[in-house]
Amino acid sequence: MAQPFRTSRGGRIDRARPIRFSFNGRTVEGYHGDTVASALLANGIHLVGRSFKYHRPRGILSHGPDEPSALLSVDRGPGRVDPNNRASVVEARDGLKTLSQNHWPSLEVDVGEVNDLLSPVFVAGFYYKTFMWPRKFWDKVYEPVIRAAAGLGKAPVAADPDRYANRHAHCDVLVVGAGPAGLAAALAAARTGKRVILADEGPEPGGSLLHDLTSQVDGRPAAVWLAETLTDLDARENVILLPRTTAFGYYNHNHVALAERVTDHLPAGGGQAPRERLWQVRAGEVVLAGGAHERPLVFSDNDRPGVMLAESVRVFANRYGVLPGRRIVFATTGASAYRAALDAKAAGAEVTLVDLRLEADCGAEPAELRAAGIEVLTGHTVLGAKGRKRVTGLVVAPIGPEGRIGASRLLSCDCVGMSGGWTPAVHLFSQSRGKLVYEPGLDAFVPGTSAQAERSAGAAKGTYDLAACLAEGDAAGAEAAGSQERRALAATPTATGFQPARVMPTNADPTKVRAFVDFQNDVTAKDIKLAVREGFHSIEHVKRYTTTGMATDQGKTSNMNALGIVAGQLDKTLPGVGTTTFRPPYTPVTFGTLVGPARHALFDPIRTTPIHGWAEAHGALFENVALWRRAWYFPKPGEDLHAAVARECKAVREGVGIFDASTLGKIEIVGPDAAEFMNRMYINPWAKLEPGRCRYGLMLKEDGYILDDGVVARVSPECFHVTTTTGGAARVLAHMEDYLQTEWHDLDVFLTSTTEQWAVIALQGPKARAVIEPLVDGIDLSPQAFPHMAMRSGTICGVPTRLFRVSFTGELGFEINVPSDQALAVWEAIMEAGRPHGITPYGTETMHVLRAEKGYIIVGQETDGTVTPDDVGLAGMIAKAKKDFVGKRSLARPDVVAKGRKQLIGLVTDDPKVVLDEGAQIVADPGQPIPMRMLGHVTSSYWSANCNRSIALALVADGRDLMGRTLHVTTPDGFTTATVAEPVFLDPKGERINA
């Protein structure tokens, strides 16, 4: 019979909409509204997994996000497989495939169960004490075995095809949790007209009201009040109601992160819609109403499938119409389980209730149960559970005076509902850095002093009475919204009596009892006692030594029991042992949610120049430089990098090459004090630079090391056109703004980035002038009128240009600045005009070779953040007359002027065909023992087609004193020899540049 444990009626499932999914290949039937857990239970399936360490059979402990045991791998289609899903929160839907984890060969028969037999050895921390001999076995044997045994499910193997989204949102009041307190808070806040976001982790808002069949709220059944309240909230434009949305992180300044599961519950997967969405909410005020988690009781074999939390039995029965067993024993130390027992009885189960408390401490509840025909055993402890893959009975015994345990009795059953009291969900409060206080009456930590603009309400604050929850919620919502209005809501009283118990009293040998505290990580009470015995007294030490609370549920069901046991062992109060600090996330959050849209093309912007499309169309290969993608070289068919670059290099020196230099940073520096500002920022002098002239500028950080370089043109007395390196553009502008705004208030200067206003077409080579002459208007290009390092404004192809006569190749060259949107047209016109001259497009690799032939440095290649101007032979640029500039003082520090600094030199390999590796290290004597004394390293190295040999630049200790010396340079296999030379390999007198 299908769904034998489904009740005949009731529950919030939609019996008109049956669904089917699979569990370990077996078809499971359920209804729309089921979770995987409720549908499995409806079909009598309790054994759903194996524990982490001992591979013990495990079932479903809870109905909610605190589930530690029922973890399944869920398959939603190709690329959509992921492990460790809590069966209690995965919404069942057609077509879902679910699989149990951590067993071999099968769930039913698991070889790993041998670990359970070895459990006397595999106690807490056993691995710290062994696996050390022989030493080599650790890497080869022990660790691989440990690792293979660890882990739960299997990681996804394919890329995830799903979409993830992000949303920044602001509200006046964020309410977390839509149970009675949260709803009351949202209502109260919403009435003020303020912006309210109400988030609830479940698919259906309502919290405990969803399974409360007996209480009345405001004179109506709870469910009716809930429906009306939701309708009311839904109708308000100022309210955003977010079901399936977990508030998982409370960050600084009321920045709260929510994870919304958007489409996992939809049969079709939701089409283009995102799977999940990260809400980053900045809230004026936050109301935390996330409820509480029930504690298991700690007794022998309390982990058997069929043993679950008492309230979960109630939820499965009332909300899902599923009876988890036909004969259910409730074991409790508090009143809440009595309601669960009554509801289970009403749903058709045979019920017994065992209460550790004495009859006198129990209030009216036992009588109420007995009147309903339920046997109630007060003053009884639980000695243990029977059964292995499914609980078959509970052994209980009365506790006499002085704690003597009386004759035991076996209560046959197929399900146990246990309740060790409640733990308020203070996770977000603690994350907000609020201070928790211990409330002995509740045996729980509750929110104390707030650190941020938030307040807690309801069970999250340790308030369990329904009317009190509603009142607290109403007050919290109103206060958060700044309203004085309060609306009292009458409600059925809730029985809340409770006495804490650490470990259920037993007369068994304590070293033999295996009573689980952390179900997933297989931590027993005796493990915790062992840790204490070994000196781990701080709760953080106990956690780390035993791993209690470190599993995927992060101790929601186990932390308080563990803490209680430690406190008991040390005879301290709970706060004396400390409580752990809660860290995000409240429940696990997919990486996808956190990444959102920042994948693939949106991972990081790809910056391209106006010429990029042309370069792509002409076969360029590209390299990443900072965020930019730059043309690296332009291979012709059949050419590799080497061949293409050799051709490009020769073309520039023999004819003319064209290069896209648009990525260079540009800053327009304007103002009456512009020249003085330049003087302070750069090592060079600027006052006497004539308008229309350029200068190569070098800039230091205050620590004296080179920050950036670039050609600067003086456009007018009060205007400089500054260029920076590609990667340095933003950094340099920020550096300048910082000094301008915070140090030199006396200067009247304005900085504007024009990096992307101007595209830059570099035209280099002896024929460069001939190519552009016909295209340029308004500028006399003759060498006399327009010498090297001059700048003129005019037009090219009718487009306004700032034309620089500069060269990074050592050839006659121009850098044609034109407005970006017109650069492609100008580029194409130059290509057309250059065709008769054999114009050749070249990329960054050729640019690097050409400048290296001339010994021009590249900041970031010859320099690395520890290099001074003198190190690279540019000390001569320092304006002697300037009293100060940024970095000047640092150049006088003792170790910066000392001998032995690495200096830029050229290296000529003895074998001209050998091209050194960039990064290769240089030594004087390759025969010396290791560690060797390294003199420096190769910073740049290329095959130079123009020199017909390899060339290299290097930084070498006192290198300028070593001219002509033979040094030894590392190669992948050993060393090669090279001779120190001036760092110029071509046209040392610099005649070509002035052509």
Partner: protein, 417 residues
């Protein structure tokens, strides 16, 4: 000290493990010690251990304001490697790595040092040059580090995506095979147990509130929440709180303390065989013995002692992880946390003397202190025992910031031009 071994474990398992005693004592502080170490993290405990074992100085106290190993020791991503560029750093971290290799046996405590290899990925031509510079320098310093093609990277670590379509394609990587990870807590506990067995007093819940100095200015002891403790020499090893502690002796430090975040995923079966670091996209990832993916994020931009950082730091890190390892998008973040890292101007540590006589400091490890734990403790013990720096920590002075002899590994990695 009761020796740990398979035999002792088995014999205890027959007795319900009732025979295990404390791994270290919980002594009352004495009035006076030869050496007082401020800070019960891995570095401080290692220092005490080597003072006792190498230098025979056992009248030592380690003062910890909370619980030992509760600072950065228990909060880091446990990456251990020694393939540093500069001779000074290489010597320091290689010294540590050699100690790591025998540490479990030395301490008789399994610290689970796992030499699974650390692979640093290159994503642009500049990275390639920089990594080759490291590989060559390491070779001449006797440190293993090899260059791998991108295909070799993929073979070594299959989850890496090496498609050219990536925003920042993998061009290759530098692999140090001897590098790896260790179990961070065990390092602190192992050193504590070893030091304790030799007479060192490990005093938890004892916060240092002041440093007492005599008329000459020399440090003579510490004021603590458990009273004044006289000390011959004081070693401050209080990562994350160095500025505060040193200020008690009126020493101002070139340090800033930043939040550093890390996170782990839910545990899964073995899927990630090594450690991968990618400086270019800011991703640091390995898999722990327990099966969790351990992921290091970056520092926040502001100084803070809150041990909490912004969500955007985490998301930025995961962007990079999912770009490099697209199969992990459906994995879930289980736990995230923050530590406080003390950062020096050159991001290298300061180990040695201070302007105050008898006061020594070991600090400024930034984001990378865990890997140095044994070496740091070893050379700092030498410094405390002899009053002069060991050859290995001699370059890591406070003085270098005055003279300009900085050891700037991060600057050497530089930035793309």
């Amino acid at each position: 000290m009761r020796r740990f071994s398979l035999t002792s474990l088995l014999s205890e398992s027959l007795k319900g493990h009732q025979g295990w005693g404390r791994q270290w004592r919980d002594p009352q502080p004495k009035a006076e010690y030869d050496v007082v170490i401020v800070g019960g993290g891995g570095h401080g405990l290692a220092t005490a251990y080597y003072l006792a074992t190498v230098h025979g100085i056992t009248n030592v106290a380690v003062l910890e304001k909370g619980w030992i190993g509760g600072g950065n020791t228990g909060r880091n991503t446990t990456i251990i490697r020694s393939n540093y560029l500069y001779d000074e750093s290489a010597a320091l971290y290689e010294h540590a790595l050699k100690l790591w290799e025998g540490l479990s046996q030395e301490l008789n405590y399994n610290v689970m040092f796992s030499q699974r290899g650390v692979l640093m990925l290159a994503h642009n031509i500049h990275d390639v040059q920089s990594f080759k510079r490291h590989v060559y320098a390491n070779r001449l310093n006797g440190i293993d580090n090899e260059w791998l093609s991108k295909e070799e990277c993929k073979a070594f670590c299959p989850p890496i995506e090496i498609s050219d379509k990536l925003r920042y394609p993998v061009l290759g990587g530098a692999l140090q095979r001897r590098a790896g990870t260790a179990r961070h807590d065990a390092v602190a506990w192992g050193y504590a147990r070893g030091a304790d067995a030799r007479g060192v007093d490990i005093i938890q819940n004892c916060e240092v509130k002041g440093i007492r100095r005599d008329a000459s200015g020399a440090a003579i002891g510490v004021e603590t929440t458990r009273g004044f403790i006289k000390a011959g020499r004081i070693g401050v090893v209080a990562a994350g709180h160095t500025s505060t502690v040193m200020a008690m002796a009126d020493v101002r430090m070139p340090l800033e303390s930043y939040p550093l975040q890390a996170l782990v995923s839910e545990p899964v079966k073995p899927v990630f065989p090594c450690v991968v670091m990618s400086n270019a996209v800011h991703a640091y990832i390995s898999q722990s013995d327990k099966g969790e993916l351990v992921i290091g994020a970056g520092t926040d931009q502001y100084t803070s002692y809150s041990q909490q950082g912004g969500l955007h730091i985490t998301t930025h890190t995961l962007d990079a992880i999912c770009e490099l390892f697209p199969q992990f998008t459906r994995m879930r973040m289980l736990r995230s946390w923050g530590g406080i890292v003390d950062v020096t101007p050159d991001r290298s540590p300061i180990i040695g003397k201070t302007p105050v006589r008898n006061l020594f400091v070991n600090c400024g490890w930034g984001t990378g202190g865990f890997k140095a734990t044994p070496g740091s403790g070893h050379v700092f013990a030498y410094t405390l025992a002899t009053g002069t720096p060991h050859a290995i920590n001699a370059p890591f002075t406070l003085e270098r910031f005055r003279t300009g002899r900085l050891i700037d590994e991060a600057a050497a990695a530089a930035v793309a031009h």
